[in-house]
């Protein structure tokens, strides 16, 4: 009987360090223990962008970096029995499975690939459910994607059928970890205490380096060894669901501070962290440093899972454009502010406009302009500033017209503006709603790859 499972994280988001899984797999393999590696690559909008790619190319729509991520580790994992679980299927898990199967064949290894689908709610039946649960959804023709957050169960099912790799679309991030745990230990689906702990172990893993010194360094206050080569996390989870967070070899660190920051990341009520599998509770959690980059988290528990599942709905969000221009030297800030006023006065009135001054107030402000109107109280005087003007609207021509007013600052704006850059791109908007569990029917299929 397995008493312990190691779970490593190979990616914490779609743009993550591409070489991170290599050290994780090396360490998992060297441990000789039962192990799994998870890949979390789906942000809120990532799936909608994948859906757009799939519309244009039906054989695409999965994580674009999938091949690059798995190529160095697939053979090692399959041969060592390290289960790979990833939501890198995005909008097209079957196509991702096909790619993985081809990769396995290329690397001369036989593999069973579990494909989890059923999260996509964009079909007629799904849409009916969504409309019944929310009256704030946009027109059907504007919808790009609608995906329910599946839980751990279909991952457990796929692993139960002998999958070496499980590829999913939208599942709750911690479920990627909880799936292999339930499979390994046979935890009951109403063992809220253990499911709560396993879920929070998954929560700590799902953002990769964010628990091992990534997104953490503050020189002189929170220093990180070798930040250019951070070892991604590896959790050791026991049958009783107690766990220790450690990391792969390399730089980075795991201590009370890194774990506390990540434990609370994107958490609202610490007593009620909602997932499809359990309502996790960290309100009594305590963090125990064991030394050598190993940290135990005690006091986590769980409560009954929510009755509904969350669905993220993405839709056509019009266009966003950005224009920038720099001013330097005496009175630079005054010239940048004047340029902003000129652009605002000349731009179409039916689009949203926001101004920032990089070097003074580049991100702190609000779209409403309250901070902008009180600029002097936020920023230090400086002589090297860059005006940024952002425009948004549904009418591309109007947004373009606004942008053109930034470009015109070269000849018609305040003195000595330089370095104009302009960009315009379509935007995906997102909203969410909650639907009955019974409306979602996850499906698991197995694809065989032969060496």
């Amino acid at each position: 009987m397995v008493e312990r499972l190691l779970v490593g994280a190979g990616a914490g988001y779609s743009g993550d360090r591409i070489d991170a899984p290599i050290a994780v797999v090396r360490d998992l393999k060297a441990s000789g223990e039962r192990a799994a590696i998870i890949f979390e690559t789906l942000g809120e909008r990532t799936l909608a962008l994948a859906q757009l790619r799939r519309r244009d190319h039906p054989q695409l729509g999965y994580e674009p970096k999938l091949k690059a991520l798995l190529t160095p580790v697939l053979k090692d994992c399959v041969e060592s029995g390290i289960a790979i679980v990833g939501n890198f299927g995005a909008a097209n898990p079957p196509a991702a499975a096909k790619l993985i199967a081809e990769l396995a064949t290329e690397q001369k290894v036989s593999a069973r690939i579990g494909v989890v689908t059923g999260d996509d709610m964009l079909g007629p039946e799904g849409l009916e459910v969504l409309r019944a649960s929310s009256n704030e959804l946009p027109d059907d023709k504007l919808l790009v994607s609608a995906n329910a957050y599946l839980g751990a169960a279909p991952i457990v099912e796929a692993l139960g059928e002998g999958a070496d790799v499980v590829v999913t679309g939208r599942v709750a991030d911690p479920s990627l970890t909880l799936g292999p745990l339930i499979h390994a230990f046979g935890w009951s689906y109403d063992d809220w205490h253990r499911l709560g702990q396993g879920t929070m172990a998954g929560h700590l893993l799902e953002c990769g380096a964010q628990v091992t010194g990534g997104y953490f360094a503050d020189p002189g206050f929170k220093d990180v060894p070798q930040p250019e080569n951070i070892g991604f996390p590896i959790a050791a989870i026991e049958r009783d669901a107690s766990f220790v967070i450690g990391k792969a070899q390399g730089g980075g660190l795991v201590d009370r501070r890194t774990v506390a920051e990540q434990l609370l990341y994107e958490v609202h009520d610490p007593a009620a962290y909602l997932t499809p599998d359990v309502t996790a509770d960290i309100s009594k959690a305590s963090i125990v440093e064991l030394g050598h980059d190993r940290v135990r988290v005690d006091g986590i528990t769980g409560h009954r899972k929510p009755d509904t599942l969350k669905v993220t709905v993405c839709y056509d969000g019009g266009f966003i454009a950005e224009g920038e221009i720099s001013y330097y030297g005496p009175n630079a800030l005054a010239r940048a502010k004047l340029a902003a006023e000129v652009v605002k006065k000349r731009s179409p009135k039916d689009i949203r406009i926001r101004c920032d001054i990089i070097g003074v107030l580049s991100v702190l402000g609000d779209d409403g302009g309250r901070a902008w109107n009180d600029l002097d109280s936020f920023g230090e005087p400086t002589t090297d500033v860059r005006l940024r003007v952002a425009f948004a609207g549904n009418d591309k021509a109007l947004v373009e017209r606004g942008l053109q007013e930034v470009e015109a600052l070269y000849c018609a704006g305040p003195a000595a503006g330089g370095g104009i850059r302009l960009s315009l791109r379509p935007r995906i908007a997102a909203t969410s709603c909650f639907i009955p569990r019974s409306a979602v029917k996850p499906k698991v299929e197995i694809v065989e790859a032969r060496s």
Binding site: Y215, E266, S283, V363
Partner: protein, 119 residues
């Protein structure tokens, strides 16, 4: 009594879900936790972020972790898919909270962190 930025006493991280922001605030030393509880109230955080007009500010206490978790509603201009902000996630805002100045009693002055070289 001296006044220092929270940055010298605690660290923080933000997370976003839609138009809602959470900011954790974690004491560097457990002995500082009661001071954070006393000084960094919901009202103090609401005032710090007043220009973003939060519709609600809720504080959760995690004494075993020497941490507070703040949840601010409607401060992200619609969040990552709507806002015109360069930082539409609000990721940088943890350091806006850390810029808040609070009074520190003399008895705790030795726990105030100073960057090496800045003493």
């Amino acid at each position: 009594m001296t006044e220092v930025q929270l940055h010298a006493l605690a660290h923080a991280r933000t997370g976003d879900k839609g138009n809602r922001l959470n900011v954790s605030l974690i004491a560097y030393d457990p002995v500082l936790y009661p001071l954070l509880v006393e000084q960094v109230t919901e009202a103090a955080v609401a005032a710090r972020f007043a220009y973003r007009k939060p519709s609600a500010v809720k504080r959760y206490e995690l004494p075993n972790m020497y941490a507070l978790n703040f949840v601010l509603d409607d401060v992200l201009d619609g969040g990552v898919t709507q806002a015109l902000n360069l930082d539409s996630h609000g990721k940088t805002l943890s350091f806006h909270l850390l810029g808040l100045r609070i009074p520190v009693p003399e008895a705790l002055a030795k726990y105030v962190r100073v960057k090496p070289g800045d003493e």
